[in-house]
């Protein structure tokens, strides 16, 4: 039997995060563009200082690297709080809790850590993640066409990537490259690539449904020194997979956060809005929508916490992580959709954040592995089928 009661320490952390979101972030959003994804620098600096005082800055960084050492269960609970504002789905708390380094960097050499990991932890550098290509993203073992060829002490890389959020503002990226075409996933290696490297280009900013764009990149005869190989040659795919499963859990809980806020807004509205002489809340059609919202939220939360609990205890959690991603993101989309229906015309307007969440949650069913791929992952576990079979 899993015990999901939260500890006093977890409650303290959650209360601090909740207060900051409600008392600092939400009031600031009143003056921001409805699609804004960043705060004015002075406000961001002020809030980062507050977060540092709370001891929650860079909460994804392990204690041995100076972070607060928050476990995955607490991190999942916090993710649910962090996103409860207009920009919360893709810019939780506008980044004032810090942007932790990509997990793969903890596998870096000491020299690589000095150049890439530590500057990210100190907030001096930012990174992007380069896995998907125009040829596909859900099956990177086969889809990666970007090619790396050894030439003396360097690797010469040609190809391109797609859907790389933040690559235009990043200082470097972790880029997955096919270094041995005769092998499948064992032929993929990860490289640390500085964005100032000759041959690196942001071809375009790709406009999508959400408020923040993404990018398309090209690499032309880009020479990367061998010391920028991250992990072992041919070990890139395993490195990517390990962290993607873990990241999927708080990612899913972030979607639940906006669902919770949408649901709260819909309940308040249903109680105050009258039609034909009665509040909406008295109508069975509305009551059922609200109950279905509650069921979707609780189901998603349970799935996220179960996955987090298994991960925390060091037990296999791949199935549960995929289930959390699928259940939470699809459920959150339904919650926001129903909430918009309850609000009527107002729910469609830019006066409320619902329309932004509606657009952005649609992407969540694709990002970090589409629902269909999550089902494939779960089916493999259920049927004990080796991936790639």
């Amino acid at each position: 039997m899993v015990d999901f009661r939260i500890s006093d320490e977890q409650k303290l952390i959650i209360d601090n995060v909740r207060r900051l979101i409600r008392e600092e972030i939400r009031p600031l959003e009143e003056d921001l563009d409805p699609d804004a994804f960043s705060l004015p620098p002075s406000e961001k600096d002020r809030l980062v200082s507050m977060v540092k005082e709370m001891g929650l800055y860079q909460m994804d960084v392990p204690t041995e690297y100076g972070g607060p050492g928050i476990d995955i269960v607490t991190r999942t609970l916090v993710a649910e709080e962090l996103s409860q504002h207009r920009a919360g789905l893709y810019a939780p708390a506008y980044g004032v809790f810090g942007h932790g380094p990509p997990g793969q960097l903890y596998n870096a050499t000491d020299e690589q850590k000095e150049k890439y990991l530590w500057p990210v932890i100190r907030g001096e550098k930012s990174a992007f993640f380069g896995l998907s290509e125009p040829s596909g993203g859900s099956d990177p073992a086969r889809a990666i066409k970007t090619r790396g060829i050894k030439d003396g002490d360097d690797w010469v890389i040609n190809g391109g990537k797609l859907w790389n959020s933040g690559a235009d503002t990043a200082d470097f990226g972790i880029v997955y490259v096919r270094t041995d075409p005769s092998k499948g996933r064992e032929g993929i290696s990860a490289f640390l690539i500085d964005t100032e490297t000759p041959g690196f280009r942001v071809e375009r900013l790709v406009q999508v449904l959400r408020a923040h764009y993404t990018t398309e990149l090209s690499f032309t005869d880009m020479r990367i020194p061998s010391q920028n190989l991250l992990g072992k040659e041919g070990g890139g795919f395993a490195l990517a997979n390990e962290y993607l499963s873990m990241q999927r859990i708080p990612y899913s809980a972030t979607g639940l956060g906006v669902a919770i806020l949408a649901h709260e807004m819909a309940m308040d509205w249903a109680k105050q809005r009258e039609t034909f002489g009665q509040p909406l809340a008295n109508r069975q059609a509305i009551q059922w929508m609200l109950v279905d919202n509650e069921i979707d939220i609780r189901t998603g939360r349970w799935a996220c916490l179960q996955a987090a609990d298994l991960a925390h205890r060091g037990e296999p959690f791949r199935f549960e992580s995929s289930m959390a991603k699928l259940v939470a993101t699809e459920g959150a989309g339904r919650v926001v959709d129903r909430s918009m229906q309850i609000f009527g015309g107002l729910g469609m307007s830019k006066d409320l954040p619902l329309e932004r969440w509606y657009r952005e949650l649609r992407i969540r069913r694709i990002g970090e592995g589409p629902s269909e791929v999550q089902r494939i992952v779960m089916a493999r576990d259920l049927l004990n089928i080796r991936s790639g079979s």
């Binding site: 804004a36 994804f37 406009q207 923040h212």
Partner: protein, 141 residues
Amino acid sequence: MRIRKPWTPWDNSIDYKTLPGAMGVFEIADSKQKTIYIGKASGKSPFGLRGELFLCFGDKSDFDGQNWIHPRMGQPLPVIREHAAYFRYEVNHMYYSRWIEILTRFNEDHGRLPTGNLEDSEVIPKLGRYHWKTKESGTEN
């Protein structure tokens, strides 16, 4: 990429109904068709692109009696008041990220933002890099 439509000279007799009340992005140019401002009609813009464009050129006409006047009508940025001559726009629901895209492209090509955006008090998010320039680089078009 920048807005691809041709520049249109502002005509004070323009029928406001021909300009969209929708969200989107726009560029303002001087008499030599050099870009002096890259703007957006956001989800908070009263009257959408129509209102924002009339705000830029509004001091050149008499708007007394109009019932859809932008609250800041008659207060364009100084560079716009003095030099605005042409405009082009794009209706776009994703106006915010598109606005950043156009600003980023201009900034990469010219090494700075348009004069009007430098004068404007609106905070622009951190702009990224393309690491390459277009043929417009240095022309300020």
